[in-house]
């Protein structure tokens, strides 16, 4: 299963990628919000799920979600990584069109469960 992972913190991104790969998933990493939009538009048919942060350089996670939802025929699940502090509320995450969210810091096992749950339906 192909996972698009968008997170600007290198450590978290690398760790998460390492983890998902170790669970047998294909992971495409992005550290900003602009590049994945282009990528998703071209490869939407292959992508099962997008895991994205909200605060990203160039374009935010909101734009990524918005752009993904504009693609007709795309069947992509989106999980948002939120963090406590001055960020959007959880409700807002759903209004943006995301399917689920997980708050940082999170257990990778829990994220994996959510990914599996979303992609199995």
């Amino acid at each position: 299963m192909k996972v698009v992972l968008i997170e600007d913190d290198e450590m978290l991104r690398k760790s998460l990628s390492f983890f998902l790969k170790s669970k047998g998933h294909e992971v495409v990493e992005f550290e900003n919000g602009l590049d994945p939009i282009d990528y998703i538009r071209k490869n939407y048919a292959d992508i099962s799920i997008i895991v994205t942060d909200l605060n990203l350089p160039f374009a935010g996670g909101r734009q990524v979600i918005h752009a993904t939802r504009q693609i007709k025929d795309a069947d992509i699940q989106i999980i948002v990584l939120t963090s406590s502090g001055v960020e959007s509320t959880e409700l807002e995450v759903f209004e943006l069109g995301a399917d689920d969210f997980i708050s940082k810091p999170f257990s990778p096992a829990v994220l994996l469960k959510r990914i599996e749950k979303l992609t199995s339906t």
Partner: protein, 825 residues
């Protein structure tokens, strides 16, 4: 009627009993029966219909249609025949019937011609009355009418039976209820009796007052009026506030409101007596509720605690005064310590310096005298301070490892000259199996030995002073160290032996004149020994000599690594040159240290207070700081805090203080000082400490724990382990990444702050939270920073948070380094 074996009379009695059991005779007309009679009349189409009951003398009509009479004598009735048969009795024409043709009702004008009646038979089969219809012309009932009459009769008897049963049930129920009520009443009476007894007991020993919910006094008992000095009548009807002073009246509103709402209150209260004097009571206020949960009155039970309260207040006051005095005393001791020691320190220090120069005998002998006087003065002051500290409970015994023989050698080094001057043999002997290292208070042991050995030398004019040290017990695990100091001196007479450990006593009144000393030494030694759980005793014979023995509990120190720890060593060959900053306001001390450093490779800069010191530290690099504690402007405590938190400097700092208390040293270390030296100090001690810290600060060492520092681990690998599935190489890679990333982030944030770019500063803090989360670090500072940045604050608001973050990062990096090293291993 078949009466079987029973007589007719007997049967009649039973019938009458049965009739009476229904209690229907002579009751008022009732609609239920009237309706049935009416129905009979309608169905049978007769002018008259009756429901009647027959006793021994009459027929009584319960319900009647077309009949004026209430009752008739039994002889005149048709129905006496009816009740004698089971079936309907029909007399089509009474004038033709033998049974009744002579009846006056028949014979009279327009008399009875037709009669049909049926007996009312109870469940027991006893006839008690009839339902009958009467007409004035001969006729016959058809079958349906007869059937209807039977049904009516059956209904009537059912009605009666049901009523009877209901009545019986009602009565039974009533009985049961009555019984229950009686039982409950009994219980209530019992409770009430108990309550009354209790209340009486309370009333006898307490003041009892009842208030209306609004706070008006409804009643008071004798005790309460005695307590308050009012007569009962003076209080009843008054508002409760009559017993309060003005201050309490204001405060009492809320209290009374809560009572009014039904809350129980209790506590100690101040009240005023009639004469205005103060009364203290211990009281409870219980609201009494009615069945609707409304407060109907408030009962107060009070005890007079005025005496107790006065005693308590007096005690508290006395304790406060005592505490204040004690605190003053402590401060006085500390100040005295500083004020007296500082000049002595200077005298001894300068004398030492002069003695180092090869001056002519004329000067050096006088300098020796000054030195001796200075030393003596210092001992005196130390004795007095020790005593004050013991008195104040401030004296603390240290528990640190030290070499036993080294302590003894130190003492002999100090006293050997004195003994030699008097031509005394002066030596010590160690028993077998003595532990090399023990845990305890080395300085206190030295103090005790100097005192006892010094005394022995002082009072011995020829012969020997000898110290013997052995284990107690001599074989196996030693539990005590046993010291024996014996001399061949003047000795002590028997009468004086008991006194010598007392304060300010010497064996002879002229001893002081002849031998000097404060008379405190032995007293202090004994206190010090006893405080450590040991004992001391003395044997002596005048003219022959004395023998002091003391014993101290012994804890053996086993850790071998300590043996490698650097010891006092002033002749370390490779002394490194270093730049040292000294913060010291006292000019004498400044000059003293300056001269101490003259022959060393160290370069010394001076600051006269903490502020100047901080400025120098900020502008120049120093390898070590010597910090006086008591300075004007900014003292040593404030300075060390600023060095560690504001300057973020880890430069080794050695505190120099006149306070020689253990608590003082602990305070210094807890604030971030690396070490501590009590004034007056020896040149060698200072140089050893400087050398030690210069060498050790270059090694990787723990950052000093700041006050309020967290005990919990700074870093947790839990997350990384979860992500990596326990892959060590990957974890290592991530930790290195964390170190580099966070370092860069901090640099960036500092740049952003300098450029006033709070948006990027906040964003950076936000981003860093993810990394911090990965290593399980505390996010609080980052969150503060993020929130702060979003509020557009002044730079000086951000600065301390950023500094704190830098500090946190330093500690995190230290931890990361440790973990990385562990991975390597």
């Amino acid at each position: 009627m078949d009466i079987g074996g029973k007589g007719e009379k007997q049967l009649e009695i039973e019938r009458l009993k049965e009739l009476l059991s229904f209690g229907i005779l002579d009751t008022s007309p009732e609609k239920e029966f009237d309706d049935l009679a009416q129905l009979a009349s309608i169905i049978c189409d007769t002018p008259t219909a009756l429901i009647s009951f027959i006793d021994d003398s009459r027929q009584w009509y319960k319900a009647k249609v077309g009949m004026d009479l209430l009752q008739v004598p039994i002889e005149d009735t048709f129905c006496r025949h009816t009740i004698r048969q089971d079936t309907l009795l029909e007399i089509p024409d009474a004038s033709q019937d033998d049974r009744v043709c002579t009846n006056s009702f028949v014979t009279k004008e327009n008399g009875v011609r037709y009669y049909a009646g049926i007996a009312l038979k109870t469940e027991k089969g006893l006839p008690i009355g009839t339902v009958c219809v009467i007409d004035h012309k001969p006729r016959l009932l058809d079958e349906p009418q007869k059937k209807a009459l039977e049904i009516l009769a059956s209904h009537t008897i059912n009605l009666l039976e049901t009523r009877k049963k209901n009545t019986r049930l009602g009565r039974e129920l009533e009985n049961v209820l009555k019984k229950k009520i009686e039982e409950t009443q009994e219980l209530l009476n019992l409770k009430e009796a108990e309550y009354n007894k209790l209340f009486q007991a309370i009333t006898r020993s307490n003041g009892v007052v009842e208030f209306s919910p609004e706070g008006f006094i409804l009643s008071v008992n004798k005790n309460f009026s005695e307590m308050t000095g009012y007569h009962e009548q003076e209080l009843v009807g008054k508002h409760h506030t009559v017993l309060l002073d003005q201050e309490d009246q204001a405060k009492n509103l809320l209290f009374w409101q809560s009572l009014k709402s039904g809350a129980f209150q209790s506590g100690r209260f101040k009240r005023l007596r009639k004469d205005g004097s103060v009364l203290y009571i211990q009281a409870s206020y219980s609201p009494v509720l009615d069945s609707h949960e409304q407060v109907i009155r408030i009962t107060k039970i009070a005890q007079d605690i005025t005496m107790e309260t006065h005693y308590r207040l007096a005690l508290e006051k006395a304790k406060k005064i005592a505490d204040d005095l004690n605190a003053q005393k402590d401060t006085f001791i500390a100040n005295m310590s500083h004020e007296i020691r500082t000049p002595i320190h200077a005298i001894i220090g300068f004398t030492d310096l002069l003695l180092e120069k090869n001056l002519p005998e004329e000067f050096s002998s006088k300098l020796e005298a000054i030195k001796l006087a200075g030393d003596t003065l210092l001992y005196l002051v130390n004795d007095l301070l020790d005593l004050s500290k013991i008195e104040a409970g401030l004296l603390q015994i240290e528990h640190l490892p030290y070499r036993l023989e080294e302590a003894v050698r130190d003492v002999f080094g100090m006293l050997r000259l004195k003994a030699a001057q008097k031509g005394l043999q002066f030596d010590y002997h160690f028993g077998p199996n003595l532990p090399e290292m023990v845990v305890g208070d080395k300085n206190r042991l030295i103090q005790i030995l100097i005192n006892l050995l010094g005394n022995a030398i002082k009072f011995t004019h020829h012969g020997a002073v000898h110290l013997d040290l052995r284990n107690e017990p001599p074989t196996g695990e030693p539990s005590n160290l046993h010291f024996t100091i014996s001399d061949t001196g003047i000795g002590i007479s028997k009468e004086k032996l008991d006194l010598i450990f007392e304060r300010f006593t010497q064996a002879e009144a002229n001893t002081s004149r002849k031998y000097g000393g404060t008379g405190l030494g032995l007293n202090i030694s004994r206190l010090l020994i006893e405080k450590q759980g040991g004992w001391i005793r003395v044997e002596s014979e005048p003219g022959k000599g004395s023998r002091f023995e003391f014993s101290l509990p012994c804890k053996i120190y086993f850790n071998e690594s300590f043996a490698a720890a650097p010891l006092r060593d002033s002749d370390r060959p490779n002394k490194s040159s270093a730049r040292i900053l000294m913060c010291e306001d006292n000019e004498l001390n400044q000059r003293l240290v300056q001269s101490l450093f003259r022959n060393t490779p160290y370069q010394l800069d001076l600051a006269v207070n903490g502020i100047e010191g901080l400025n120098l530290l900020a502008s120049k690099a120093y390898d070590l700081v010597l910090m006086d504690i008591q300075m004007p402007e900014m003292d040593g405590y404030q300075a060390i805090r600023a060095i560690r938190t504001d300057l973020k400097s880890t430069v080794p700092v050695i505190a120099l203080t006149a306070h020689s208390m253990v608590a003082e040293r602990e305070k210094c270390l807890s604030l971030g000082m690396n070490d501590y030296l009590s004034k007056p100090f020896k040149k060698e001690a200072l140089l050893a400490k400087i050398e030690f810290w210069l060498n050790h600060s270059k090694e990787l060492k723990e950052p000093p724990v700041l006050e309020g520092g967290k005990e919990e681990p700074l870093i947790s690998l839990e997350q990384l382990e979860a992500f990596s599935g326990g892959d060590n190489d990957f974890q290592k890679e991530m930790l290195l990444l964390f170190r580099n990333q966070s370092e860069k982030a901090l640099r960036d944030m500092t740049t952003y702050l300098a450029g006033g770019d709070l948006i990027n500063l906040g964003a950076m803090a936000h981003k860093l939270k993810s990394s911090f989360g990965m290593v399980g670090a505390d996010l609080l500072l980052l969150e503060n920073l993020e929130t702060l940045a979003s509020r557009k604050p002044a730079p000086d608001e951000i600065m301390p948070v950023l500094s704190a973050l830098e500090n946190q990062l330093r500690q995190l990096h230290f931890e990361v380094e440790k973990i990385l090293n562990n991975f390597k291993a």
